[in-house]
Amino acid sequence: MDEAKTSSLEECRAILAAHHKRESLRAVLIHICLIACCVACIYPVLRILAVSLRPGDRIISTDLALIPAGATFVSYLRVFRETNFLIWLWNSLVITCVTSVIGVSLASTAGYAFSRFRFPGSKLGLTLLLGTQMIPAAMLLLPLFLMIMRLGLTNTYLGMIISYSVTSLPFSIWILKGYYDTIPRSLEEAALVDGTSRFGAFWRIVLPLSTPALSIAFLFNFTQAWNEYLVARVVLTDSFRYTWTLGLFELQGQYLTQWGMFAAASLMVTAPVLLVFLYSSKWLISGLTLGGVKG
């Protein structure tokens, strides 16, 4: 009897050990894949960093060192001294920030209307908004340019802000509408009974509970506007109105490209996006609505 018990116990241990081994192997494989993906993402950035640090006579080199021999910040200094980099950066910042604020403001209210009210054309409107996302950006270029031109808004911040806001709006509306749908209506009804208006309930209850979705929408608007090139190329012709994406291409000559400056400027323009990401991450919290209603 005891022998039978011991052998079945050993069998169980063997099965558990085999299961543990399989799980460990699986974890190792997953980590290898994830590390490979990370390397694939980070390596080009590190190459750009290496190029930006190279002295001018060693730009074209097969050296793979991350910190090249004779590393220097000359390219960074030259970007500030010899180009309108700060002006491009300022232009990009103004256009991107205003676009993001306008985009999120419009999307938050439009998303709320689509989420909470039934009105003629609400379903069709949502479908059409989604439909606009299927159209390639290049196809919108000509009509957008014609509209901006007829409005007399070429070479203006306003022209760029309008172009970027409207193109990002549908996606932001969908994100926010989806999030509002998860917020129980009874919370707003409680606020209405407590003494708010409909807008007050939206402002004091729904918006504070929607910060994760608002952050996502803001980040989406920000990165879209920050990295955009095609529309800027068409709408902006004055070098003093250039955004950094256009400015960077100024460094590309017909016969000679300043790769060091190009790489240095490319790295510097990532800083605002990184800062916005870091700041927004604190708002990307799950479970904000927990506890409010019976789950």
Binding site: E189, L192, D194, T196, L290, G291, G292, V293, K294
Partner: protein, 363 residues
């Protein structure tokens, strides 16, 4: 505090009429319970009173003022929701003071009111917590506290206990009863639980299919139900119904169907039928007794025991009398066996008669 009048309220959702000409008066300081099965329109009626829903027709008065076109915030009401509806991003104290802050009440007064309400509901220690740190019962107390601090004209409760477990529900029921005694407030309380209705209400309004079936004190709706629906809905276990014919017989009456024939005294009805009348006889399970158990002269119906359920202090005995199912509630000491034949008796005064066509009570 204030009186409430709902006059000819009609509510349609597309082509579906959920409230049909409901007229109801609620007196100042009254505890009125709207009770009915799920989907009967009781919550819709409460939401119309709160201003969260527009009535298709009819008028709503609070304290004599027509409030049809007033938004909820202008109606001086407070509402406790079924799912608590606490603001998750605010602490308990902030939740409770939200309405007062909106009204720009002085800070010291807000604090005093919150402390007072928290004291009544014994949640003083929870004031700095957020809703997700509370249990279901504590959340419901906070929701009630949020209503109390406002000192509204009318309190509206929309099935506030239905998300709580049985024990907690019992505790909270007592708390709400005490609250009404303490605040002497006008309360409109919606529930589908007839025990809540019977224990809490000054008056009960039974609603079904969007129409009011009966409005009366708990005693009235229990002992003199206006129709078959009310008779079946109020009381647990539910009333036994037997279809048959009521005819004059000698100086008295006779109720008969294929399975039974029972002689009854003439005084049971104010206007006894002159000819055989198709009726539904209603008798509460606790009014049925094994024959011989009780005063002499009770009628006996032969029946067979189908199932016996022990509920601790009592037993539910399911019987088959001919083709008719009957439920009898007896003392736990009585031990019939399934399949056993016995005689069932009842007190004639405990019988209810309803017209089989209209399902209304015969008087």
């Amino acid at each position: 505090m204030a009186s409430v009048t709902l006059r000819n309220i009609v509510k349609d959702f597309n082509d579906n009429r959920v409230l049909d000409n409901v007229t109801l008066g609620i007196a100042d300081r009254e505890f009125l319970v709207l009770v009915g099965p799920s989907g009967c329109g009781k919550s819709t009626l409460l939401r119309i009173l709160a201003g969260l829903e527009d009535a298709t027709g009819g008028e709503t008065f609070i304290d004599g003022t027509l409030v049809n076109h007033l938004p909820p915030r202008s109606r001086e009401i407070a509402m406790v929701f079924q799912d608590y509806a606490l603001y998750p991003h605010m602490t308990v104290a902030e939740n409770m003071s939200f309405g007062l802050r909106l009204r720009r009440m002085p800070k010291p007064e807000i604090e005093a009111r919150v402390r007072e309400a928290a004291g009544i509901l014994q949640i003083e220690k929870l004031l700095e917590r957020t809703p997700k740190q509370l249990s279901g019962g504590q959340r419901q107390r906070v929701a009630i506290g949020r209503a109390i601090v406002r000192k509204p004209k009318v309190f509206l409760f929309d099935e506030p206990l239905s998300n709580l477990d049985a024990k907690l529900r019992e505790e909270m029921r007592v708390e709400i009863a005490k609250l009404h005694q303490r605040l002497h407030s006008t309360i409109v309380y919606v529930t589908h639980d007839q025990v809540e209705a019977m224990t809490l209400a000054s008056r009960i309004a039974v609603i079904q299919g969007g129409t009011l079936q009966q409005v009366g004190t708990p005693e009235q709706v229990f002992s003199r139900p206006e129709n078959v629906f009310v008779a079946g809905f109020i009381g647990s276990p539910t009333m036994n119904f037997v279809a048959g014919t009521l005819s004059p017989e000698g100086t008295g009456l006779c109720f008969a169907n294929d399975a039974m024939k029972v002689a009854l005294p003439a005084g049971l009805l104010e206007t006894p039928p002159a000819a055989p009348l198709p009726v539904i006889l209603g008798v509460r399970p606790e009014s049925l007794r094994p024959a011989g158990d009780g005063p002499a002269g009770r009628q006996g119906i032969p029946a067979e025991v189908d199932v016996v359920e022990l509920l601790g202090h009592r037993k539910n005995v399911h019987l088959l009398a001919g083709g008719t199912k009957l439920l009898m509630v007896v003392d736990a000491a009585f031990s019939p066996r399934a399949g056993e034949s016995l005689q069932v008796s009842f007190d004639a005064a405990a019988l209810h008669f309803f017209d089989r066509t209209t399902t209304k009570r015969l008087r």
